[in-house]
Amino acid sequence: MNQILEKLVSFLSRLFTALSAILLFLVIIFIARESLQIFREVNFFDFISGISWNPLAREPKAGILPMILGTVYVSIVAILISLPIGIGCALELAALENERLKSFCTSVLGVLAGIPSVIYGFIGLLVVVKFLEKNFLLAAGESILSGGIVLAVMVLPYIVSSAAETMEKSYKQYKEPSLALGVSKSYMLRALILPNAKGAILTAMILAFSRAMGETMAVMMVIGNSPILPQLLGKGETIPALIALEIGTAGLGSLHYHALFSAGFVLMMLLIFLNALLYLIKKNLTENLH
């Protein structure tokens, strides 16, 4: 009986591990397969550097440069806004002595991370977009900036938790030797903990960047969705938004359909690369600590 159970568990764990490893390649291959067909008609370089998107025209144009730039642009805006707030918050949490208060703050940030992206988009539309329309006298508040603001809130918890983890470790480690020299905690945070967290801040940035680039709904709802070269206060479109909006109307097997898969493929490879990089940096950082 025990023998059978052991065999079964051993078999199942191998089977499911193989399955999960295959999953990645299955996804990549499938997306790639559906993508490649477009390159019979448009060459790859034109695809990623073309600035006009009109796959349904008689002479179809499939250039996704505006969308690539749009995706990168909103993500950068998001990080510029949320990084200073996130790092400040992480420093404060790292130095918080009250364990209960700290765990309360961590759970609040956890809840913030768990709020569905449509809700962020919904509130973004009703609050951020309205605010921009009123205060910046924009004809339409839907813009790269509003996308960036909404995304900034969404990636904030990831930045905080990623950075706070390392800062907390070094705070605990160096607190006593630092205090014994008669310096204040604020000075320690500024002169020791913050400079020592460079690696962690970099990881937090990459993490936030990859989160932001892959986000669909929240950005799509506030960014305006026009396939034009993005400007901070103008409309733009991201790759995920492009796919989400157009896949429903793209005929199976049409050029339009394949173009959308290719756009997804480009985004996916970029994000997989960022995530692999993130994993390796993190691994290096933790190994250097020991």
């Binding site: 160096y174 607190k175 006593e176 030797p177 205090l179 014994a180 020299l181 008669g182 310096v183």
Partner: protein, 249 residues
């Protein structure tokens, strides 16, 4: 002979555990005091109470009084107190920055400005701790790359940089080899001309070699304070005698 620090009916408890009980101890200026006793007798807590690092522990309760130059330590601002009373830990813990920055860290906080004066103080303290010759070409190398003995001497130099009057040392040699132990003992003897030093040690021979006075603690109580020579040749208390004979501890 001046009283530099005097502890008056000091009691320390952490949670429900009484760590130090009714300790009355005088620490003389520019002398080396060795604090000895079996593990868990409160030696480390004693040091942490003197520079008030103990107050960072939420469970700790302290009663009694510590006078530093005749003034209660509770009336001295924390950063000032800790600047004047340095502490060297058992495990050397250099900050994750260069050798130079390790020493400049607290100096900058305490208001030393200008690269020249910083460098001057840093080099002087490295020389004092016998580290200068070894590291003078690598001042901007990460301090984490130093050997254990070098790290401990760096930590002593770091404490000395801010010009303390008293130096508390918590078993500073326990993780070091004989060579580095010797270097640090020589350093302590050299420093005792200008500093008041309290060193916690497990090593009775070390206490004998470097200390002017020896205080013996047992179960949180001060059993005996005596000159080192007398303590090791004719201890007054029965417990001291037994401890020296190796009956416990």
């Amino acid at each position: 002979m001046n009283d530099h620090l005097s502890l008056k009916s000091l009691n320390v408890a952490i949670g429900s555990a009484k760590i130090l009980q009714d300790v009355n101890l005088t620490i003389f200026q520019n002398k080396v005091l060795a604090v000895i006793g079996p593990s868990g007798c409160g030696k480390t807590t004693l040091l942490r109470t003197i520079n008030r690092l103990i107050e960072e522990e939420s469970q700790a309760r302290v009663s009694g009084e510590i006078l530093f130059r005749g003034k209660s330590t509770q009336q001295i601002p924390l950063t000032k107190l800790r600047k004047d009373i340095g502490l060297v830990f058992q495990q050397p813990l250099p900050f994750p920055m260069s050798i130079y920055d390790n020493l400049a860290y607290a100096l900058k906080y305490h208001g030393v400005k200008g690269k020249d004066s910083l460098t001057e103080i840093i080099e002087a303290n490295l020389k004092l701790c016998g580290l200068y010759e070894e590291v003078k070409d690598h001042l901007f190398m990460s301090a984490l790359k130093l050997s254990g003995g070098q790290q401990q001497r760096l930590c002593i130099a770091r404490s000395l940089c801010v010009e303390p009057e008293v130096l508390l040392m918590d078993e500073p040699c326990s993780s070091l080899d004989i060579h580095n132990t010797k270097l640090i003992e020589d350093l302590i003897l050299k420093l005792s001309a200008h500093y008041t030093i309290v060193i916690v040690t497990h090593n009775l021979q070390q206490a004998r070699r470097i200390a002017d006075y020896t205080a013996f603690f047992l179960d949180g109580r001060l059993i005996e304070l005596n000159t080192t020579t007398e303590f090791f040749t004719s201890p007054r208390a029965e417990a001291s005698k037994q401890y020296l004979e190796g009956l416990f501890g």
